[in-house]
Structure formats: structure tokens, C-alpha cells
Amino acid sequence: MHETLSPSETRDMLLAVAEYIVERTDMLTQIDQAIGDGDHGIGMRRGFLAVSEQLQGSEPASVEAVVKAAGTAIMAKTGGAAGAIFGTFFRSGSSAFAGRNFDADGVAAFLRIGLEAVEKRGGSRPGQKTMIDALAPAAAAAADAAGGGLSETLARACAAAVAGVEATKGMIATTGKARTLGERSLGHPDPGAVSFSLILTAMRDFVAT
């Protein structure tokens, strides 16, 4: 169990996240087939393979730099809405780690700043059936957990994200390619929300071991 990660440990965590996402390509694609255009898994795979390629064997100068590098790789290679959204999340969120390691307060700030940037970039708010519906509750939970240490913060953020994914099943999409689906989007989770919860799950698992 780690309560703070060094730059190179953060790199290893991001590599673990990348592996976790890439392994779930088909599942993410299937979720997008239900309510989107069926390419979400393919895109996330491209983006996180680029993260692996970028970070593998590199010696990061800081946590901020390595998180930003991951965001840059995602933004360049994922494509689609997910590339802009997850790229923006990591790139903007990375500023939370300016001058610090990957710790509980940093994670809370990371989620908060990332959320603000994503909302600004895409113009969406909670309740529109996007990854924000996993990210916003995760950010709130992390803020709540402040002082509780890194593993607890990530565990609570992750649980909130998973609950957020569940909640997206009851939402009608009003943005993205599922927008015009109307009522027919009911019952299906949002693909980007699932991806976000997987990212936190992989982070939580990395820190817990």
C-alpha cells in the first residue's frame, strides 16, 4: 500500500491503467454500440497504447509532467470525443500535482481541476449521460475523503464513479452521438463514464497493492 507515489511510481501506475483499459477494449466498444457509434473501445485502446508507448522506459521529471504526458498522448491518438475529453482531463488535471507527488490532496485537486476543464471544453453538466456523471461524484468523494490518505481517497472516488456509471443507465443522453437516442438510451450506461470508472479502478488497485 502506497500513500504517495513518486514520479516513476506514478508512471508505473499510469502504465497499469493503460493495460487495464486496453484489456477492456471489446467491452467498451460493445457499450458504445448500444448507444453510440460503436468505436469507444477502439479509440481508448489507441489512446492508452500511446500512453504505454510514451511512458515505457521514460524517467519522468515530476508527477505533473508524467500525468500531462499521458494526457498529451491520449489527446493525440484517441480521436473522437473521448480523445478531447480524456486528453483534456489528464492534461489540465496534471497542474494539481505542480511541485508535489501523487498523494491524497493532489488526487482530490486533480479530479476537481480535471472536472472543471472537461465541463469547459465540452459544455456539458452532470446529468447529461457523459463521463462527467462518473467524474463529478468521484471528485466530490475525493474532496470529502480529504485527509484520509491516498488509498482511501482513491477507493472512495472509485466507488463514487462506479455508482455514477450505474446512475447513467437512468439518464437520457443530451450530448454526444447518443443525443438523439432519447428514451432509447435508457438502461444503457454511458461508455465514457465506464472508461472513467475503469481508470479509477486501475489506480485504486495499483495503490492498494
Binding site: G36, D37, G38, D39, G43, G79, G83, T88, K177, T180
Partner: protein
């Protein structure tokens, strides 16, 4: 229905291979930026307003096939059905902007909007002037009071055609932007899908339609439309699509329009011509005259069966730019 068969090599490489094939098909009229999914017209005149188009691949000939004389200067191509990333868009800007600025024209999708916006912001930081026209012609996608929530479909062609000819004529970005907006604001489209196309990388169809059903208003990626119904006649389909199109702008007696019939993939020209017959009857009855007709494949969705109808209301300026000759791999008109 079984999985459609395709003529491919490694499905993960479709975009790069199709772009190479496109450059070759242009017989000297296109270059591809190194290691980039960006096609550029060679020898762009200095001081020309740069027209950059783009979006996900898989809709050929749009966007990659519309780079050429009196059309776009560059196309930035994402993976299949995925918006291109900002770094590719930035490279396109660097390749085409010699000081007069850049106009983006693309379809209004969350992914495209965000990626092009990021690129525009970064480019402006570097001193480029960028204007953006998002095309939102798909009447099926949202009510008129939320027109900016609508998707861009085959109407992209009209905006690109007009903007391309304007950018070849004027060196003032504001003017090109103005006329491109006018083209966009006077364009309305409606589509119908009979069967899904499939994504090369997965081989899966993007949606499932029962064997005897069609969907009016379905989007170019299989996004749901306004009504799913039993397969009906060509005349009935034309009536439904035209009713929604005409009422929306609205188009009125005395209007002069350009008509575009777009094949979404595997529909035959025979079917499209049969639909055209009815469309023209409807327009004649409504007192609307057709200045010109374009019929063929513009924005496809792989081998989706279906088609869309687009109308652009014309004035003299739009007519002039629409009628200018053009030449690219995807569209050529004397």
C-alpha cells in the same frame, strides 16, 4: 444479416492505406503530410484563405475526397468514425495558412467540435486567425430552436463547395466565413437508413434494423432518427423526408434551391433516381425551382443502405460559388 465482406488488408491500417490510395488517385493533385492523416493541396497560392475540413474517416468521399481545385485546401482525417486529434489539425493549419487565416468547416459532433476547438485555441496562440463553421443540416437531430444541437450530414458538401469557391476568389477570411455561414444556414437535410454499415476494425454493424424496417432520420453513424417504421414505397419515403425538410427552413413558393441526393453507401443509383422523380414532383407542386442537382456518394457510412436529401436555398452569390467548376477525387464538375 451476416457480417459484410470487405476488401481490406489489416483493418487497423485502413485510414493510412486509404489516404495513400487517395493521394495516388489524385494523380499529383494531393500530398500527404509525413506520418499524418492530413491531405493537402500542393502549391496553395500565397495569401489564400485556407479552407480546412475534416472529421472521422469511414464516410468517404467526405472529407478526404474533397481536397482540390475550388474545394478544400486540406482535410484532417480521424480514424473511422472518430474526430481527428488537435495535433493533426495544427499541422494542417501550418501547411495551408500563409497569413490570410484559416476557415474550418466540419460537421457538428461533440468530438469534432472539441478537437477542432482545441486546435483553434492553440493555433491562435501561435498567431493564426481561425474561423469555424460547424454544419448542422440534419433536421432529424433536434428541433429548430436547438439547431446548434443538430448533426452535420451531407449538407457538408454544399458548405464546402461554396466556401471552397469563395476562398479561391476572395482573400478576406471574414467574407469567406460570411458566405460559408450563409450556405450552412440555408441548408437542410433528412436521411433514411435501410440497413447498417459495419466498422472495418470490428467487422460489426453499427446497429441492427429488423429485416422489414427502415429508420427515418437516422444519423450517418447509425444514431437513431425520428421514426422507425415498416419498409414502405420510394414515394412515401420521399414524401416523409421532404415534408420535414420543407417545413423546417421553411422553403417557400418562389424559392430557388440546389438539390443533393446522397447515397449513404449501398443504395443503388436506380433507387436514388426513383426518389428524385418524386422529390421533383413535390418541389414543383410547392412552387420551388431547382437550379441544379447533385446525385451520388458524398457522405457515406460504410456500406449502409439508405440515402439523404439536402436542399440549399440559393441567392445569386451562393449560385455563383456552387456553380464554379471543381475538381477532386471525390467530386468533379465541369
Amino acid at each position: 444479416m451476416g457480417r459484410p465482406k470487405k476488401i481490406l488488408n489489416n483493418p487497423a491500417n485502413v485510414v493510412t492505406e486509404l489516404l495513400d490510395g487517395l493521394v495516388l488517385a489524385a494523380d499529383g493533385g494531393l500530398v500527404r503530410l509525413d506520418n499524418r492523416s492530413v491531405l493537402v493541396r500542393p502549391n496553395i497560392p500565397k495569401g489564400k484563405v485556407g479552407l480546412i475540413i475534416g472529421g472521422g474517416s469511414g464516410h468517404e468521399p467526405l472529407f478526404s475526397g474533397f481536397v482540390g481545385d475550388n474545394l478544400a485546401d486540406a482535410a484532417v482525417c480521424g480514424e473511422v468514425f472518430a474526430a481527428p486529434s488537435p495535433d493533426q489539425i495544427l499541422d494542417a493549419i501550418a501547411a495551408v495558412d500563409s497569413g490570410a487565416g484559416v476557415l474550418f468547416v466540419y460537421g457538428n459532433y461533440a468530438g469534432d467540435n472539441m478537437n477542432f476547438d482545441i486546435a483553434a485555441e492553440l493555433a491562435e496562440e501561435e498567431g493564426h486567425t481561425v474561423r469555424t463553421v460547424r454544419v448542422w443540416d440534419d433536421v432529424a437531430a433536434a428541433p429548430l430552436d436547438r439547431i446548434t444541437d443538430r448533426r452535420g450530414i451531407a449538407g457538408d458538401f454544399f458548405v464546402i463547395k461554396v466556401a471552397g469557391a469563395a476562398a479561391a476568389t476572395w482573400s478576406d477570411l471574414d467574407e469567406v466565413y460570411r458566405v460559408a455561414c450563409k450556405a450552412r444556414d440555408n441548408t437542410r437535410s433528412m436521411g433514411v437508413a435501410l440497413a447498417a454499415g459495419s466498422i472495418p476494425e470490428t467487422g460489426e454493424r453499427t446497429f441492427e434494423l429488423p429485416d422489414d424496417e427502415i429508420e427515418i432520420g437516422m444519423g450517418a453513424h447509425g444514431e437513431p432518427g425520428v421514426s422507425r417504421q415498416k419498409l414502405t414505397t420510394a414515394d412515401d419515403i420521399a414524401d416523409q423526408l421532404m415534408q420535414l425538410i420543407l417545413a423546417d427552413l421553411p422553403f417557400k413558393a418562389g424559392d430557388e434551391v440546389a438539390l443533393l441526393l446522397n447515397n449513404l453507401g449501398s443504395t443503388t443509383l436506380m433507387e436514388m433516381l426513383i426518389v428524385n422523380r418524386r422529390v421533383r414532383n413535390i418541389l414543383a407542386e410547392a412552387g420551388i425551382t431547382v437550379h441544379r442537382t447533385d446525385i451520388g456518394s458524398f457522405l457515406t457510412c460504410q456500406e449502409m443502405a439508405g440515402m439523404s436529401i439536402s436542399l440549399m436555398r440559393l441567392d445569386d452569390e451562393l449560385k455563383r460559388f456552387l456553380d464554379a467548376p471543381a475538381r477532386s477525387v471525390g467530386y468533379s464538375k465541369a
